[in-house]
Symmetry: C2
Subunit: 185 residues, 2 copies
């Protein structure tokens, strides 16, 4: 599975591509940051984020895009920009028919460090180890994007099993409904 992780932001939008399956060593295919100038108009910044994300999608053709789920409880001054950048990332993926998965910051931290309250340094250290990198990716947004992709790859099997179970249950329920009434008793 090839996943593009996106740590959304207007000033710095972290992007990282990881390939692999749960239970096997993972490979980093790319990491970077899409930046937009703080003094530019909001509309132009969103266009720049869109162009950046499109380039990453073109280059790496991910099967899934994992985006950090934004909460409004966060820092009030930055949360709007984060929500807007995440909307652009989700839009770019959905437009191409690429599934979008959202993971909360604590899900991501728990996935890569074992603790939902790990700090940036700990996340960076584990990303470096899990992807066998020479040093932690900089800036932190880039490391967070890789952590998101890793989190998705590791959580996906459990989510898929859950989805399959739900689908089977729905199918059984439908069969039961459509079965001839006289004979099911």
């Amino acid at each position: 599975m090839r996943v593009l992780g996106v740590d959304p932001g207007l000033t710095r939008c972290g992007v990282g591509v990881v390939e692999g399956v749960a239970g096997r060593p993972l490979t980093m295919l790319g990491v970077g940051v899409v930046r937009t100038p703080a003094h530019a108009e909001l509309g132009h910044r969103l266009v720049a984020v869109e162009q950046g994300i499109e380039e990453w999608l073109d280059t790496h053709r991910p099967e899934v895009v994992a985006v950090e789920r934004v909460f409004s409880q966060h820092n009030v001054s930055t949360v709007m920009g984060t929500a807007q950048a995440s909307a652009v990332a989700m839009l770019c993926a959905a437009r191409r028919g690429i599934p979008v998965a959202l993971h909360t910051p604590s899900e991501v931290k728990a996935a890569v460090t074992g603790s939902g309250r790990a700090d940036k340094a700990q996340v960076g250290a584990m990303v470096t180890r899990l992807l066998r990198l020479a040093e932690p990716p900089r800036p932190a947004d880039a490391a967070d994007a890789l952590a998101l992709a890793i989190c998705h790859i590791w959580r996906a099997p459990a989510q898929n099993r859950l989805q399959q179970a739900v689908a089977q249950h729905a199918q059984h329920a439908q069969h039961a409904q459509h079965a001839p009434k006289g004979r099911t008793r």
Copy 2:
């Protein structure tokens, strides 16, 4: 001046086009709502908002897009969707080179009713009167989109004068800087 007003939202995104200049009667060219199903995936909803906005831009070719400025202090459960829908509207406009203007809800209310704390009914009543409509546009999101467009048309002259003054000041400053030093004293 032809303005597309956008009252952003994921479930209902109000859109309204008004043409006119400050101090003259205004004309409504169109009003409506872009809706997306609440049960759909977020990415798909954003794509639906994009398609809806694109259609309005194609049909009405506005010179400016006026979008409600979203604050994170608002209702926490809806503010993320509002921020994301507004990002899509701004992106669509900026991608076409159409200027985007943001106005706060109280600026809009003050512009059309005289009070920044007017309620929805009051805004609807004034929009109906100012655009000489037979009845208030429904739902309220549609009326709010028209109010945004009206607000922009009425505020634009003041904003333009301000921008011109700033530009002239900058030009004067530049002239002063580039003037031969010996002769300016």
